[in-house]
Amino acid sequence: MKECGYSEINTRGTSPMESPHIKKKATVRRKWEVFPGRNKFYCDGRVMMARQTGVFYLTLILILVTSGLFFAFDCPYLAVKITPAIPVIGGILVFFVMGTLLRTSFSDPGVLPRATPDEAADLERQIDVANGSTSGGYRPPPRTKEVVINGQTVKLKYCFTCKIFRPPRASHCSLCDNCVERFDHHCPWVGNCVGKRNYRFFYMFILSLSFLTVFIFAFVITHVILRSQQSGFLNALKDSPASVLEAVVCFFSVWSIVGLSGFHTYLISSNQTTNEDIKGSWSSKRGKENYNPYSYGNIFKNCCAALCGPVNPSLIDRRGFVPADMPQAVSPSNGLTMYGSTQSQSNMCDQDQCIQSTKFVLQAAATPLLQNEPSVTSDELPLPGKTSIHAPCTSLALGQPTPPSSMPNLNSESILTDMIPLKEDLGNHQFLTPDEAPSPPGMLPVNSPVTHSHTMHVLNLVSQDSLHEDSVRGLVKLSSV
């Protein structure tokens, strides 16, 4: 299976306006290529998995190797001695297990697509009106909406990454960085989240796997017993060494798999998710009035709803084409979580914001200086420690005041940060001038006289309140990127 290959977009130089011919080349893209979550796609978007798939391959190997050994070493003997139905039933079980496993692993669990920028803006406006707060730039307290479902009050949480209010029973998977409907859990064994759309496959996988492990375990034991009756126990083990391995694997698997099947049977019959059960959302321990509002009342209907209910189509339309005028998906507030093919795009988003905020800060600082030194522009003051602007922007979040004596902080931002406490005690802080401190990489020596004078000028501006406000705002913006 080929992995999706993506090439980083060159953010330097050419802008979309400058070179229309480049736009023509990179035209037809499918939506999976610009998907903002941390998923891997194969077969041109038909297959969707989580990022970490190592354990999934382990599951595959365990099942295939154990079954293979069973068919190779135990079945010939058992087919002859007892009945040929044994390998047939075994074959059907293995086929069913593999089918449901692949179906669980490869399908969309019910990912909710992220809000478009217009939607997000509209929601933010509504929330601001509700909260009465107007200041932006920092993260406001968690937003919740309460809704009454079947007599129970349910809190809907706002997802900062996806910029939506999560529907009831949905949850955000931090591993896949997606909101998933009816989120059960993220299963590393199947390499995917288990949610609304693939829960029935997951359940049938663990159910059939429990039957398979019990089946193999039972018949391996039978095989060894029959052989030992003929030629003694030790000889039996020598004749069929694979049986030992199979027995060990099955013995340890049986407890966990059968236990898990039992647990999920309970969850299905009470129409709960693993998430809800672990949190005790509908537990009677929370209160006498606490009950599950999603349960249909009887076990049979709950089971039917979970296993035979209607299948929703995927909401993310992986194989659709990206329209040319589609607005860019809302980039997550935590830039560190961006992976996959949208890394370059989100980097551009974050970088644009970053560049804007930095320019704002530097302009605010440099405005009085422009009268004296017209050469001071934001381009001439390279951000220290970074030779290029393409580094992830979260490393530039310097919202907190840092001691001036630490070397990496010798830059325009920290000087301004120190301005805030400087207002009170100007004398206590000691600045390392560029001459004293070893210059960090990327800081050209030619600029040091400029920064030196910049430092001196900046110190003189401590008393200017409006500049102070501007730079604080700029810094706050920077830290929010």
Binding site: F96, G99, E119, L156, I164, M204, C308, G309, P310, V311
Partner: protein, 135 residues
Amino acid sequence: MRPQAAVAGKVFIQRDYTNGTLCQFQTKFPSELENRIDRQQFEETVRTLNNMYAEAEKLGGPSYLEGCLACFTAYTIFLCMETHYEKVLKKIAKYIQEQNEKMYAPQGLLLTDPIERGLRVIEITIYEDRSLTGR
């Protein structure tokens, strides 16, 4: 329809979760549409959409049958036929297009199919209506 018309704003009809996780939209009339469309017509549209989504997700004989049949064929049957849900989604798309042509476009509005927004919202785009400015 109106390629040259400027977008004056967008209204988002949010989901209504009072009946659980079923796909239902709020029938509350947004204030931005006061001058554009009749309240009754709007509520009728949203109510019809809600009914259609409820039909798609309905649990009953036919859906169980479809589920069981699919299970026995290892879900390969969906390579040949559409699920009930997909059929209803097509009906919904046609209905929305019809509503747009008959009622909303003449008033300078455009309904976006909720499936294109992940069934989160019904997006109504409000276009600048130059004919109204003459009054």
